[in-house]
Amino acid sequence: MSKVTYREAMRQAIREALTRDDRAFLMGEDVGRYGGCYAVSLGLLEEFGPERIRDTPLSESAFVGAGIGAALGGMRPIVEIMTVNFSLLALDQIVNNAATLSYMSGGQFNVPLVIRMTTGAGRQLAAQHSHSLEGWYAHVPGLRALAPATLEDARGMLWPAIQDPDPVIIFEHGTLYNVEGELSDDAGPVDINTAAIRRPGDDVTIITYGGTLRTGLGAAEQLAGSGVSAEVIDLRCLRPLDTATIVSSVARTHRAVIVDEGWRTGSLSAEVSARIMEEVFYDLDAPVARVCSAEVPMPYAKHLEDAAIPQVADVLAAVQMLGG
């Protein structure tokens, strides 16, 4: 075991990818000389050189599109976009090209591309740097969307993502980079298909992912103090969703609270809720509850931002509402 940060775990994953697969390379704004806007790729330029750690100009549409082209041409690009809000400049390439080429070409072409980006609020970066738009990407057939919330997943999701013949987007919550913990020295690839039960329980299922896994676990801990046993599911893979893990848990606990930093309307939380309704409606003892971000562009002031994003107290209140 060694003490590592989420940032370092991610860096180890990139190092592993570039070492094991010589078709893999990293590109994005300031990934090289600067070391990455969140310092994820710090030192990799010195290790792998400028051909494989490629700084790009500020041109998200072009370099994401170039990643798609390079993937078509036989490479295994890892493209870093600084923040999910900036990925909107490349949305056309991602949705109209990366996600469609396999299907449109009748299966003749595939796009083995990995895109990594920071997501989420909590750092007072206001309305153009803080949103949780992963639910949008999870809407799109042809993409796989991953949300590593733990050190193991930060370390282990990239390699299978690179092996995936189709485009994969990895969402790294900005508040996780400095999280430190023990990681096994032989930590390696993890599965990228299933949800994980992070805490088993019997009375209520809290379903969450990414930056709000902590919120869900924090709530479960407090609930335990008052005699309520909460199960916490980390979705991990936002598309395709592991419905089986969700519904089998809810069938046991009979109650579900979904915690999602995205906005409620048309969200991932809505999708999860719908699947519970479709599959285990008659097992429910109470309506599914949701704790989402307030439907506002993220404000700067700390008290407003805190009020806008899911907090442990909000989850506790939601569980209380469910009764039992």
């Binding site: 100009p57 041109s59 970066l125 700067y300």
Partner: protein
Amino acid sequence: MTGATAAGGGGAEPAGGPTGEKDHGIHLLQQMLRIRRFEERCAELYSHSLIRGFLHLDIGEEACAVGVIDTLSPDDAVVATYREHGHALARGISMRAAMAELEGKVEGCSRGRGGSMHLFDAATRFYGGNAIVGGGLPIAVGLALADHLQGRRAVTACFFGDGAVAEGEFHESMNLAALWHLPVLFCCENNLYAMGTALDRSESETDLSLKAAGYRVPSWEVDGMDVLAVEDSARSAVETVRAGGGPHFLELRTYRFRAHSMYDPDRYRDKAEIEQWKQRDPIPLLTERLTATGVLAEGDLERIEGEVGAEVDDAVAFAEAGTYEATEDLERFVTSEPVRAGEGS
């Protein structure tokens, strides 16, 4: 006009500007000092956690904002980036409202919702504070389109960095503005770096005026450390744009003395390069010039510094005495509020 230098400006107004040479030079100096001292205080407040989020300082680049904005009239519009404290102050947003914003107070110019990167002010037609690189350019084109369609002789000054030139929005906006002959003054603050990326590692053609030429937009290359040169070029450009001359492009050659933001360890620049540029600090540059020409007399600088210092202290006191917006109001203004009875038409 591509390749013309600042000296070629020569508008109707002498470099002295509307208020007379002496007062005007002092006015420019005071404006730059207001920005400098304001931002130095911001850095301090950041280290005390009173300002959070991303904080991008304009220190070293003050002559660009001051020189251009001073030539605008109140009806003109300004679009800026996340490095916009200087532009906001030069445009007339009060130091109090700006500081309160940075401290997240409801008395701030964006009610504390925007913070450092999103200063807004309808009264001075200051359309932000945009933190998407290149995001402001199309908006500037649209503001100019609205002025054009409504027969207003206003100019929209749009500020952006050298990094934005690589974005598609730069090219699309330049083309659109030129094609439709719109009154936009594109002001590129070329400080040679986009975060850690030097211009020559980001652009295959580093002569930015050639990009403007590609869209038939006349351009000036200006010494962005010399506020008088900036003002001179901006004045003639603004006049031409206002007179129906279509969009113009100013490349303001400047340098940021501080890191990109408070998070940036600044590992990518040579210390000697920074020191060299500091020799061309726009504030001493103007101070020396004004002293040499007798405009600035003994004691003037101390007096100005005193006034500026007092204004900064007052702004900080105002911000600290400010209040936080009620959390119940979190969802206000997501969309426009209906006009309440008795409040306008």
